[in-house]
């Protein structure tokens, strides 16, 4: 027996502990605090924060339990896809079907991805990393995680943190931009909800058709769109309540908890404490702003083209961030005029943004591969 060995065994927790770990634990505590006190996307930020804390206490994604979870759900890409099955089962695409012209806003809301990518490249990031930063501009958690885990897994932590933090900050980030870029007259525009009824048959066919089209046009987005639409099909079919409820509850809850932990477990001091993390956080915020600006510009364009029949505020929900952005736009319009209800239009644009984000994310994967970025 050697007392040195024993002492080492007993103090290995302290020996492995570095200042970097202490800083990262503080970061984790901040994330947990934001989740609990400020209620910023708590279902994700709380597990991410806790995962970050334990990653810096020796339980990172490179070892033990967290490695098992990381390999099972992130390496295989399963967790974001399982979450998408649940999300799909919660989305109602009827407003979009009734007003398909909203897709324009859903496309416009993706400019931030590419604008951010360009800026990241200018700042010296390599193409896959720049694209992973850009995908924060998809403003959709599972898409961002799916793309980043393929292109730049080492940056998954900061990217997921940025994506979810800013998403929960949308009620703070967007309103100033919305007020700055629209006139009061524009914000007062009332829109009749044409209310074209959507048949049950079409509501069921829609997820299948979207899967077909997107899988052909952007095959890299196929897993994302297929799972999102599978969830939606379970919902709209009306004949598989058991499965639809499993998707909206068991499946999404368990996947969310372990996705959050697994992402947090990548936030070790060596991975996270670098200038690139700061750049990711800054560029991620920029992506949100660019998306909003582009969405609003297209909203104003539609306002002009329709002779003032479209309230440009709904441009801001093309960014995705379903369903927060949709609700916020409707709320902003109501603040100007209490009797102005544009929620259905906003939700149409918002679900279009969801589709646009998935398509843009998939194309990004294909383009980076095509340009030799991988």
């Amino acid at each position: 027996m050697n007392f040195n060995d024993i002492l080492q065994q007993l103090t290995q927790g302290f020996q492995a502990f570095t200042w970097g770990n202490a800083v990262m634990i503080a970061v984790g505590v901040v994330l947990v605090t934001l989740a609990v006190v400020k209620e910023y996307e708590p279902v994700l930020l709380l597990p991410i924060g806790f995962g970050c804390i334990i990653a810096n206490l020796g339980m990172s994604y490179e070892t033990g339990m967290m490695k098992v979870i990381y390999d099972a759900g992130i390496t295989t890409e399963l967790f974001p896809l399982l979450i998408f099955i649940g999300v799909g089962a919660m989305i109602d695409f009827r407003p979009l079907l009734a007003m398909p012209q909203m897709v324009v806003l859903g496309a416009a809301g993706q400019f931030g991805i590419y604008g951010t990518l360009l800026l990241a490249v200018l700042l010296g990031f390599k193409l896959p990393q720049a694209a992973s930063i850009g995908v924060i501009g998809a403003i959709d958690g599972p898409t961002a995680i799916f793309v980043a885990s393929k292109l730049a897994p080492e940056m998954l932590g900061p990217i997921a943190v940025a994506a979810y933090s800013y998403m929960s900050l949308i009620p703070i980030i967007q309103p100033p931009i919305m007020k700055l870029m629209t006139t009061r007259k524009e914000r007062l525009v009332r829109m009749e909800y044409a209310g074209r009824p959507v048949s049950h048959r079409l509501a069921v066919a829609f997820p299948v058709i979207v899967t077909l089209v997107v899988s052909l046009v952007a095959p890299s987005a196929a897993p994302l769109i297929a799972t999102l639409m599978l969830g939606n099909l379970l919902r709209e079919s009306g004949v598989v309540d058991r499965l639809s409820k499993a998707a909206q509850n068991e499946i999404i809850n368990i996947a969310t908890l372990f996705l959050g932990l697994a992402i947090g477990s990548t936030m070790t001091a060596s991975n996270f404490l670098s200038w690139s993390t700061l750049a990711v956080l800054a560029l991620g915020l920029l992506a949100f702003v660019l998306d909003t600006v582009a969405g609003l510009l297209f909203g104003k364009l539609m306002y002009a083209l329709t002779g003032g029949k479209i309230n440009p505020l709904i441009g801001a929900c093309g960014i995705s961030a379903f369903p927060m952005a949709g609700r916020l736009s409707a709320k902003m319009a109501q603040e100007e005029d209490f009797n102005n209800f544009i929620l259905m239009h906003a939700m149409g644009a918002n679900t279009a943004g969801q589709l646009g984000s998935v398509v843009a994310g998939g194309l990004l994967l294909a383009l980076v591969a095509g340009f030799g970025g991988m």
């Binding site: 496309a107 590419y114 360009l118 959507v198 089209v213 843009a360 340009f371």
Partner: protein, 121 residues
């Protein structure tokens, strides 16, 4: 080519294809909405009818029942007046469907409400 050049190309092609894909979806959605307009109207009418029945059955115990049902029926009639007459094929549920639904409902009821005989022991 420089990384920046690639990035510019990616931006150009990427945004172009995003718009293309979503405009394609627009076209398909518009097409499908028109193709299914009739069945959509039928669905709406059916839903309204169901709602009317529900209101009637819920209000059953009071005098309000008939009044409420009438109100819903009027609203429904107004709505339907603007729609093409619906085919009878779509309105009625096949025996087969009815049987399967009943079976599923039974099954579900069994699963969840059935008293486990052993449980009381």
């Amino acid at each position: 080519m420089s990384t920046l050049g690639s990035a510019l190309w990616i931006t150009l092609i990427g945004m172009g294809l995003v718009f293309l894909a979503l405009l394609l979806l627009w076209g398909l959605m518009e097409l499908m909405m028109r193709l299914t307009a009739r069945s959509a109207a039928a669905d709406e009418a059916e839903a309204a009818e169901t709602a009317a029945e529900e209101v009637a059955s819920q209000a059953d115990s009071s005098r309000l029942a008939r009044a409420a049902a009438a109100a819903v029926a009027v609203a429904l009639a107004l709505r339907q007046a603007t729609l093409p007459p619906e085919g009878p094929a779509d309105a009625q549920v096949s025996n087969w469907q009815a049987a399967m639904r009943t079976a599923r409902l039974n099954q579900r009821a069994n699963m969840f409400t059935r008293k486990q005989r052993g449980a009381g022991r």
